[in-house]
């Protein structure tokens, strides 16, 4: 249960050193990505000009304000409220993100499934759980929006954030086959019949 302070991009070795139940705080660059972003990247053949190798992506579509381009706002956007969406809908994009773009860390909420866990094992990636619904707090870890690509998909553009002290995030799925979600699911499934019996449910 070690804590890691990491600056992105990270190497495969750094990513593989992370174990379930460890915590991570990130600094550097973070890319925001979401349903439409990945549908366009992986189903409709669009490419991003960003280099995602070794980077962390977060499942998000932020609230932003359009502002004049300046040193402080190089992309012409000020962050208003940046939070995290449910990862499960984007399950099938994990492998191509790692394989085609070299992403090393996915930040999200609610967890991913078995095929993502396998991709993390095969390609050296991790899933970092953030507390969903805590966007006001998360926004305080965002220093600015450095750049944006695929912005016709706004708010589901590909966002490039500058971050500081982004965390602590919980390593919930690692590259060694560990998944907190699988553990919880097993325990919950085992409790199901007991709970139903307690409710007097006869045959379920």
């Amino acid at each position: 249960m070690a804590h890691h302070e990491l600056t992105t991009p990270v190497t495969e070795a750094q990513s593989r050193a992370l174990r379930v139940n460890d915590t991570v705080t990130l600094g550097g660059t973070l890319f925001g990505i979401r349903d439409a972003t990945q549908i366009h990247m992986f189903d409709r053949g669009r490419k991003t000009r960003f280099d995602l190798r070794g980077h962390a992506v977060i499942h998000t579509a932020p609230n932003v304000r359009k502002v004049a381009v300046s040193g402080e706002f190089p992309a012409g956007y000020a962050p208003v409220c940046v939070g995290t969406t449910t990862s499960d809908r984007m399950e099938r994009f994990t492998r191509p993100l790692l394989e085609q773009y070299g992403v090393r860390m996915i930040i999200g909420k609610g967890g991913l499934r078995e095929s993502s866990l396998k991709a993390f094992q095969d390609l050296g990636g991790v899933y970092l759980a953030i507390v969903g619904g805590t966007a006001a707090l998360e926004t305080t870890w965002i220093e600015g929006i450095e750049d944006v690509d695929l912005d016709d998909l706004n708010p589901e553009s590909l966002w490039k954030f500058r971050i500081r002290g982004f965390g602590p995030l919980l390593v919930a799925m690692d590259s060694h086959g560990g998944s907190l979600y699988e553990v919880v699911q097993r325990d919950v499934d085992a409790m199901r019949s007991k709970v139903l019996a307690g409710l007097g449910v006869k045959s379920a």
């Binding site: 809908r89 967890g111 966007a135 926004t139 708010p155 919980l170 979600y181 919880v184």
Partner: protein
Amino acid sequence: MKVDLSKVEDAAAELYVRALKILPPDIKQGFQRLSAGETTATGKKVLATMMTNITVAEQTDNLLCQDTGVPIYNVVIGRGVEVDGQGLKQALRRGCERATREYPLRSSVVHPLTRKNEHSSCGPEVPVIHMDFSDQPEMLKIEMIPKGSGSENNSFLKMAIPAEGVDAIKAFVVDCVIAAGGKTCPPTIVGVGVGGTSDLCVALAKRAATRPLGSACSDPDGAKLEQELSLAVNQLGVGPQGLGGDSTAFAVHIELAATHITMNPVAVNMQCHSARRASAVFTPQGMEYGF
């Protein structure tokens, strides 16, 4: 009482932003209660982060969650209220659109087929507007609910049959909570609709999910069942954010309606821990914001 529609429009805009920023007191108390009873270290930590977020949102005057949701306006019109119904609906829509553009809020609403976002939080049939009437004299209440998608995506309907009895309802609720896992941003309010027709059953589930904590189903058998189920789902161990723990739900709420002799419908709609709502009440004395 004659209703000034320009004030309704202003309130519709203000309510959207207020709902996104300030969590109702009953939900804050719900956090205190769950936190006191949580026995796992992870669960405690996750709940503490959620409570910190509520404070940060208030201190930084920011939105609690980035998900601006699907905007829902529930309107209750009392007796002796003079209002142009269609004008009222248009005022709510204009207010919703204004809040989105002026604040600015993320427009989370797209056309269901083209996926085009008009950046107004509006589209066909959205904002969702429900109208109802009450016995109260000279009163118009507007409740605004930004319904987050993480929880809304965990909505379920089962047309069970009479032979399956109440057991079917109980098992369905438990299985929905298991299926939702961490995807629905627990701790949740599990809204359960029982009876009615399929559409009414789902609408009841939504009403139940957005009812204040501490309120009870007006039907005594429904109230008893919601207590039983509240205890049961928190024994499952899903926990805050689905990372394990005792705090899976703030409560299970039930709303019910009579149904057909051949039917036994049950629906589940969930509200995430950012259980946001805000209201405005118009009376001859003026307008007051609340929850």
